[in-house]
Symmetry: C2
Subunit: 345 residues, 2 copies
């Protein structure tokens, strides 16, 4: 059933039927009702592709996901996408993914723009040096970045959390508890968020008069075994850490496992603070949460990012939008005073 058939059936022109269905005013209430009824009855829905061609709007939003063989699929991104996707659907937009080998990433963005497949693009995981912002500006497609990077933050739209302050506060907390050997298990620091977290960590160390020790600063993909391995290695140092700061609750679990194998209990024998993206399959649960954490729901960020991008698409003339979220610092069971005799204060 297409528009013309429906129109013939009703003995109306396609113009009128189209207008009736799309809520234009130049059609009488009676016919509008008649059309709606017939459409429902025959299960008519406009062919999306034809509509897209006619209007020039795709009602779709693109995400490009680079994948290297054997590299991890970021579960944080999955939650972000879920949040964004909910909002897209509710607003009548489709979600279009382009999952490509990392080396084809730039080309994937170009294709999206050239082939007019989407009305806008959402960019995830910006790096400290990232070609995408310039590229997308050049392509002239509306876009919004989850995170931010580069010198001209006012020049494009983004939503981000205050990673630097979050990690400064978390580090301060550990320092106030008397810890002097504080390890950072960060994400890969070419990623903008991780670089900011590192900055916050260093700021707090300086403020607390603690020397920065490269042996205690680790960066890697945020998996459980890598957290485990890093913690295990650090505990073999002559002067091992008494506290850990991790970038992901996944890594934090790895640290927990490593420390338990050494007979150390979190909150008593050592402290651990993590950033918590509020992942649905790894909730920081318990009456009192397991981990002391800087928390910010990445799913909520996804929802808001989608709203902002849709807004940007509909009224581009009002210029770029930015939003910076502060994070909560919630106390859990995993932090406590530095153990006596283990600190070298």
């Amino acid at each position: 059933m297409n528009l013309r058939e429906l129109a013939n059936l009703l003995d109306l022109s396609t113009t009128t039927v189209s207008r009736a269905l799309n809520g234009y005013p130049e059609v009488s209430a009676a016919t509008r009702e008649r059309v709606a009824e017939a459409a429902r009855l025959h299960g008519y829905a406009p062919n999306q592709v034809a509509r897209r061609l006619a209007t020039g709007r795709t009602l779709a939003i693109g995400h490009v996901i680079p994948i290297a063989e054997h590299q991890m699929i970021n579960p944080v991104f999955a939650d972000f996408l879920a949040g964004a996707g909910e909002t897209y659907s509710a607003a009548g937009y489709d979600t279009v993914l382009s999952i490509v080998p990392a080396e084809q990433e730039a080309e994937a963005y170009r294709e999206m723009a050239r082939q007019r497949k989407v009305d806008g693009i959402l960019v995830s995981g910006p790096k400290v040096v990232d070609f995408r912002i310039e590229l997308l500006a050049e392509l002239g497609l509306p876009f919004l970045v989850h995170g931010r990077t580069g010198p001209d933050e006012a020049g494009y739209s983004w939503i981000d959390i205050n990673n630097r302050r979050a990690f400064r506060r978390a580090t301060e907390l550990l320092a106030h508890l008397g810890h002097r050997r504080i390890a950072l298990l960060n994400g890969q620091e070419q990623l903008s968020f991780a670089a900011r977290r590192r900055l916050g960590y260093e700021e707090a160390l300086i403020e607390a008069g603690i020397a920065f020790d490269t042996d205690l600063a680790h960066q890697s993909e945020m998996t459980e075994p890598l957290g485990y391995a890093a913690a295990t290695r650090m505990m073999q140092l002559a002067d091992p850490p008494t506290a850990f700061l991790t970038s992901s609750i996944i890594t934090a679990h790895g640290v927990l496992r490593a420390m338990r194998e050494l007979g150390r209990q979190a909150g008593r024998d050592f402290s651990i603070t993590t950033h918590d993206d509020d992942l649905s399959f790894l909730p920081n649960a318990g009456e009192v949460p397991l981990f002391t954490a800087t928390r910010s729901s990445v799913r909520a960020a996804g929802r808001q990012a989608a709203r902002m991008l849709i807004d940007l698409i509909s009224t581009p003339e009002s210029g770029p939008r930015q939003e910076l979220w502060e994070v909560e610092l919630t106390l859990g069971l995993s932090t406590g005073p530095a153990p006596r005799g283990q600190t070298h204060a």
Copy 2:
């Protein structure tokens, strides 16, 4: 730059240019080269939407993802999607997601079909009773199921792993090691894969002459805290388990945490076997893997599912395709003989 502009530029008809670019034979090698060159030079790419309308093929594949507020986004699905997406892109297909509230799931499938947005649909997480297979058959859109369910398995296309045999073998392994109190921490058993795993578990118990105990059979979403909670609860039983069988490596980590808190070490004081989907962010790593596991890469399954579906779309006349994968049972550090004095054999 659109097709006509390019054609004018070359002083050719749009017909010829289109044919040249799409590799049809009725165009001389010389003009083909000339056209290709001009297209490259001016950065021309055909408008995908127009092409879709003209050909009737969308070159897109749809996935519907239902989401209930506060319900988990399945990380296993994320890896599956990554695998499928790689294959789609390589074959020139787009990935279209429809992320909707659970109660709108059926409508989302209907919309995909009615609006002709995709050439085919991939269905994930079939339930023991699932409306989707019948619905999609009725909608007449090619589809493939990751998993299988219902009485008529030969009637539609699917790819699945042998969950029943996997869990039978894992249970047998534990029984052979002398365990008599074997707990099952399953996924939600309205899901087809979980129901099959339960069957395999029960079969092996019967074979080993072990009575089924409802206290040792648990089902829930597969999160870390739920694994922790279930294990903790079971250990308070008068006759606690000496071995665990979990449906996900995520849950397995929860069990590990619970047992360590009780001072029990895996492989020595108790055993644990898990299914391992080979998730990229939770690898079962180590020279010897941490967990004894039935392993099957869900990402590889995604890749193969995509291939099968694309194949189904291009040659529907050859009927439904099915593929059942056996899983590897790999030994890790987490299993060992049942501890003496704790068994009630």
